[in-house]
């Protein structure tokens, strides 16, 4: 996850629900009504790149002086987003292969990694790694199934490679629609390497 990583930038802009712990004057435009203050305990959705910082940086304790001896309260409290809710976690435990990750969130894995680093959530980490493992098997199966319909009969190698590509692309679309962005990359890499190996062995 580098600085110039497009996927990372996109994943960072996913909004998560937050609760403000302080009254913030002047920040009303986050709620959509500029000029006003954000009230304490108001809930809004902030992009992760903003929420992550605000959830770490301690607010000034000039308002709530009784908390001062403890560690400073951050500006916002991150609430559990629905893509990490127990309902979803349970279904991920039950059958990871049939889970539609893409509809839950397109950047599920990178978000999960960020979330886990933020909260050191051991349980979520184990669930997600189990899930990734189970789904990776499935992805490998799908990526490995390269069909060669017109393999040796056609003489035109270009036509053949073309059909190889087409056949495998629209075949398994049912499962492929449920992949998240990371898994899509994984699948494409794996599929390309399988395809190229096969082409190298068959052709010539």
């Amino acid at each position: 996850m580098g600085y110039f990583d497009i996927e990372d930038v996109l994943a960072d802009s996913v909004e998560v629900p937050c609760k403000f712990q302080f009254k913030m004057p002047g920040l009303g435009y986050l709620e959509g009504n500029p000029g006003r203050a954000i009230e304490k305990n108001s809930k809004l959705n902030l992009p992760l790149w903003l929420a992550r910082i605000l959830a770490i940086v301690g607010g000034g304790s000039d308002e709530d002086t009784e908390y001062e001896p403890e560690e400073p309260i951050p500006f916002v409290e991150l609430l559990k987003p629905d893509f990490f809710a127990t309902k979803f976690i349970n279904s991920a435990k039950a059958s990871p292969e049939s889970l539609d990750v893409h509809s839950v969130n397109a950047y599920f894995y990178s978000l999960a990694v960020k979330w886990i680093t933020l909260f050191e959530d051991k349980e979520l980490a184990s669930v997600v790694s189990e899930m990734l493992l189970a789904r990776a098997l499935e992805i490998n199966n799908h990526a490995g199934s390269v069909n060669i319909v017109t393999s040796t009969t056609t003489t035109d190698s270009r036509l053949e490679s073309h059909s190889v590509h087409f056949e495998s692309a629209n075949k398994n679309s049912q499962f492929l629609m449920t992949l998240d962005q990371f898994e899509k990359d994984l699948h494409r890499h794996a599929h390309d390497s399988y395809k190229q190996t096969k082409r190298w062995m068959v052709e010539r």
């Binding site: 580098g2 600085y3 790149w49 992550r52």
Partner: protein, 300 residues
């Protein structure tokens, strides 16, 4: 995994060309002398440097290994300057060599037409173009490897430009930048970086507030310096040390466990891993980095 014998074959090809060219009855034109003068000196002075160890074949093998390592490793590996200079010199010598032989062919065919009575021994020798073909193909292969190797390095220089810059500035690193990179790569890094910086400055950064104008800001929420992914998993082949090295090895890291000899390896997370000699593993790069430096393993 297997011993790559292509280079041996190439070497044989080269030897046979010498024999082939010197065997046929061609004492008059400069072919044989040309070959001798172009091939042998490089070997001769190589032999002078360190007798018996450095040969063209070993160098080629080493280059292939380095090429493979460079392609697989996440970080930029040190530049083998002496090896590369030897390789490039040989490349040049062989190119001259081929050219002179090709010239020899032309001279021969000229001789043919002019002097007919010499024609009898000639066709068998001059029509034998295979050696020349092999030499050219071999040369082409070597050039491909070198080209691919350098390109791979350049792409890494691109990727880690900021990181390398930082290495240069801190100076606490063991490896100075001019050992890591060749002179040309240093220049490339320097100038490419300035051009990139100029582009970014002119298009975006000058509109930013002054505290956001740094391009190598590490204090922000995301560090702008992309370090190599030290924990990238790589495939590793544990080399078998040669017989005379084997007694010398235990001082370094080869302990005897079980039947075969193992290299014990400490993973920083929780456990020790034993790398059996001759085995293939998938490992974090940082764990095996030292071994790679000491040339005990190869990446595949």
């Amino acid at each position: 995994m297997d011993i790559n014998i292509d280079d041996i074959l190439a070497e044989l090809d080269r030897d046979t060309t010498v024999v082939d060219q010197s065997d046929p009855l061609l004492p008059s034109d400069g072919n044989t002398t040309m070959i001798d003068s172009s091939l042998d000196p490089s070997r001769m002075d190589v032999e002078k440097e360190s007798p018996g160890v450095v040969t063209a074949e070993a160098d080629y093998r080493r280059l292939i290994t380095l090429w493979r390592n460079e392609r697989c490793s996440p970080e930029l590996l040190p530049y083998p300057s002496s090896l590369m200079s030897r390789m490039l010199r040989r490349l040049q010598a062989q190119m001259d060599n081929i050219e002179s032989i090709a010239m020899g062919f032309f001279e021969d065919s000229d001789n043919h037409e002019s002097v007919d009575e010499y024609a009898a021994p000639h066709p068998a020798s001059t029509n034998n173009k295979l050696p020349l073909l092999c030499m050219e193909a071999d040369l082409e292969r070597l050039r491909f490897v070198i080209r691919s190797y350098l390109r791979c390095r350049l792409s890494k220089v691109d990727e880690y430009a900021l990181y390398l810059k930082q290495l240069e500035q801190t100076e606490k690193e063991i490896m100075p930048l001019n050992e890591l990179l060749s002179a040309q790569e240093l220049e490339y890094h320097e100038r490419h970086f300035t051009i990139l910086l100029k582009l970014l400055n002119n298009s975006v950064l000058k509109h930013m507030p002054s505290e956001l104008q740094a391009i190598n800001d590490t204090e922000g929420s995301v560090s702008m310096i992309d370090e190599p992914d030290w924990n990238k998993f790589v495939f590793v082949y544990v080399k078998t040390p040669s017989a005379n090295q084997l007694q010398y090895e235990p001082a370094l890291s080869t302990g005897e466990y079980g039947k075969s000899c193992y290299t014990v390896n400490i993973e920083e997370l929780e456990e020790d891993v034993e790398l059996a000699v001759g085995g293939i593993y998938v490992m974090r790069y940082l764990v095996i980095r030292e071994l790679l430096r000491e040339d005990k393993i190869e990446l595949i």
